[in-house]
Amino acid sequence: MQKPAAREKFKPLASEPAPIGLIGPIGWVRANLFNGWFNSFLTIICVAFLGVIIPPFCSWMFFDAVWFGDSETCRAASGACWTFIGHKLQVFLIGPYPTSEIWRPAAAAVLLAALILATTLRLGNKYFLVILWLLYPCAAYFLINGGWFLPRVDQSRWGGLMLSIGLALVGILVSVPLGILLALGRRSRIIAVKSLCVGIIEPIRGVPLITILFMASVMMPLFLPEHLQINNMLRVQIGIILFSSAYMAEVVRGGLQAVPRGQIEAATALGLNYWKMNYLVVIPQALRNVLPSLIGRCIALFKDTSLVIIVGLLDFLGAAKAAAQDSNWLGYDAEAYVFCALIYWVICFGMSRYGRSIEARTTVHH
């Protein structure tokens, strides 16, 4: 730089506010709803469609609905009868469980709520939470079933949302480890083990859940000797576990394939045997890879439990259907199913949101 003299000072222009048609609500509407004649046309059609659907739905659901009263008030009104739901709430939630012992499923529900809160808020040690989750079904089973000092309640009296959640929870907790084992076995180089795992996974994945449930419910009594018969609910639970394990196995297999070869080589070089290597190095990475798909499978499993009505169990959907058949409260199927759908939606959507938050947290950024 030869010239030591000062340079001219640059006078920058001030930022001007954007023109009115560009920002704020008007700008947003122009950009998102009316940019181009085709989009404008679509917007008008959608608004018309909403205008036709939303008002009658809202008046049925809220404004004309009956929130208090009895069967008579409901019949007289044109809106939804939510007193029906209130009346039948116990059946929806716990099925034909005896009212005198209602504190027991309630206690199990409170424990579950606490566990969910702790997990979503990430309180406490990770491994401690996992142990709690594994112990919970035992505690819940004891509470609901009875034995020892609590009077027994037969499994034919279990039902409602409690049964759906129970079947799904036990299904998830058992089918994930089982799925991992199947996935490892499928990747094994020992032909017999590999064929056995493929022979289990592929047929199960190729048939509908209903066939598996029929197999469990109708065929299993034929396979077992007389003295080893188990009750229907346990058979159905086993069927659900088998079905879910096959799908979990495929998801985990995808995760195992994504673990770089170098990891296995490094672990072997460090002297870890097959099981230690898998347990400490391979499986944690595989699971992290496919956590979103795993959670998707869990959500699917929860939805699939609704099928047990076909083999005679009264789960949440089954209880809704049964409640709508009550001769005192006929004709309120819509309310029953809408309520059922709402609860299912909240639970499934909640799970998928949780899954997405985990995904966001654990994504390895390269």
């Binding site: 998102n32 020992i190 017999a192 209903i210 029929f214 099928l307 076909i310």
Partner: protein
């Protein structure tokens, strides 16, 4: 050496365990079947069924055999699956494109649709459609009559049944011929464009052919088709083409449910294409319709097809939910047979065989499609 021995030992162990378990199960089953007086084998297939099936593709009477009844069920499963796959794909693609639309309202509505249907069990949707929507239709005597010959009531959708004359087959042949001509013209157009740069207006020619050729044949070979209208006789309609409420509920539920998943696949496919490529195409002066056809779609399909294969096989398997609302598909009919003669093993075995066969065919077709759209990567 030691490793080889260990492997062999494990192989033998596993094989032995499987053999032992199978043998035990077999023995138990024999004993149980005898104790409960349940027959074995497929002899029951030639026994008269006495089952009422009110929705079948081929003519069926309760005096037909169990075997024929089961076959009708299998046909119904295939029918629902095929129709379902086509309808779900069409609706799913539409909603998937709506999801990525620049119109906020359209994309939000599509998102609401997808989120509702994906998070509610299919069985619930089926029950709701069957019990609430279809049951709220009027009695046959007060049917909805939107167009002549079309009646909608709680016994089903009644449409005029087409009765074909000889001319019908001529017109069908003409339609096929038009498609062939369109195919040939598109080839000729491509060759012409390669040589001179300007192709033929295939769209216009194709549309006109599709209208003109069958119409001409129709006029020349009348009479072509007659319609048998459904007529109200007493409390019910007779004649015509009827879509039963069970069938309708199953189709509506299956198609809407699967379409939601296919829409997500379409969305992720389209969004997987880098925005920069669209900009590069724009900068080259390429029209957006051409960009969609030649740049976005080929790449989107590569992502969408594997995922959609899963959805198709799911649809086939979900058709088994027909048993819950009374549509006579394979599981429904089989379940009734089990209820009558307890031969669960045979029926369940048949179910598994048919579903596995359908799965193999669908997977094979989709894998072929998938292979055709692969990109050469480094």
């Amino acid at each position: 050496m030691q490793r080889k021995f260990l492997n062999l030992f494990i192989q033998a162990g596993v094989a032995g365990a499987v053999a032992f378990v199978s043998w035990t199960l077999f023995q138990n089953t024999q004993a149980n079947l005898e104790a409960r007086n349940i027959a074995s084998g497929f002899d029951f297939m030639s026994v008269e069924s006495g089952l009422p099936i009110n929705d079948s593709l081929l003519p069926y009477e309760p005096s037909d055999t169990y075997g024929y009844a089961f076959f009708i069920g299998v046909l119904n499963t295939l029918y629902v699956s095929l129709l379902g796959i086509f309808a779900a794909t069409a609706i799913g693609v539409l909603i998937g494109c709506a999801r990525v639309s620049s119109n906020w309202l359209v994309s939000r509505l599509a998102a609401v649709y997808v989120e509702i249907l994906r998070n509610v069990p299919l069985l619930l949707t089926l029950f709701f459609t069957y019990v609430v929507v279809l049951a709220s239709l009027p009695h046959p005597r007060a049917s909805l009559n939107p167009f002549t010959g079309i009646f909608i009531n709680n016994r089903g959708f009644y449409l005029p049944a087409p009765v074909p004359y000889a001319g019908f087959w001529c017109v069908t042949a003409a339609v096929l011929l038009s498609f062939l001509m369109i195919f040939i013209i598109s080839r000729v157009s491509k060759r012409k464009r390669d040589e001179t740069g300007k192709g033929l207006p295939t769209l216009m020619i194709g549309a006109s052919l599709l209208v003109a050729v069958p119409s001409l044949t129709w006029i020349l070979s009348a009479p072509v088709v007659d319609f048998e209208f459904a007529v109200l006789k007493g409390f019910n309609f007779r004649g015509g083409l009827v879509l039963r409420p069970e069938f309708s509920a199953l189709m509506i539920g299956l198609v809407l449910y699967t379409a939601a998943f296919i829409a997500e696949n379409v969305r992720s496919g389209i969004q997987s294409v880098n925005k920069g490529q669209v900009e590069a195409a724009k900068a080259l002066g390429v029209k957006s319709s051409l960009t969609m056809r030649r740049i976005i779609l080929p790449q989107a399909l590569r992502v969408s097809i594997p995922a959609t294969t899963n959805d198709y096989t799911s649809l086939v398997k979900n058709s088994s939910l027909a048993v819950a609302i009374g549509y006579p598909d394979m599981v429904s009919v089989g379940g009734t047979i089990i209820g009558q003669n307890d031969q669960a093993i045979e029926i369940i075995g048949l179910w598994m065989a048919v579903y596995l066969a359908i799965n193999l065919v669908v997977s094979a077709i989709m894998n072929w499609l998938n292979a055709k759209v692969q990109v050469v990567e480094r």
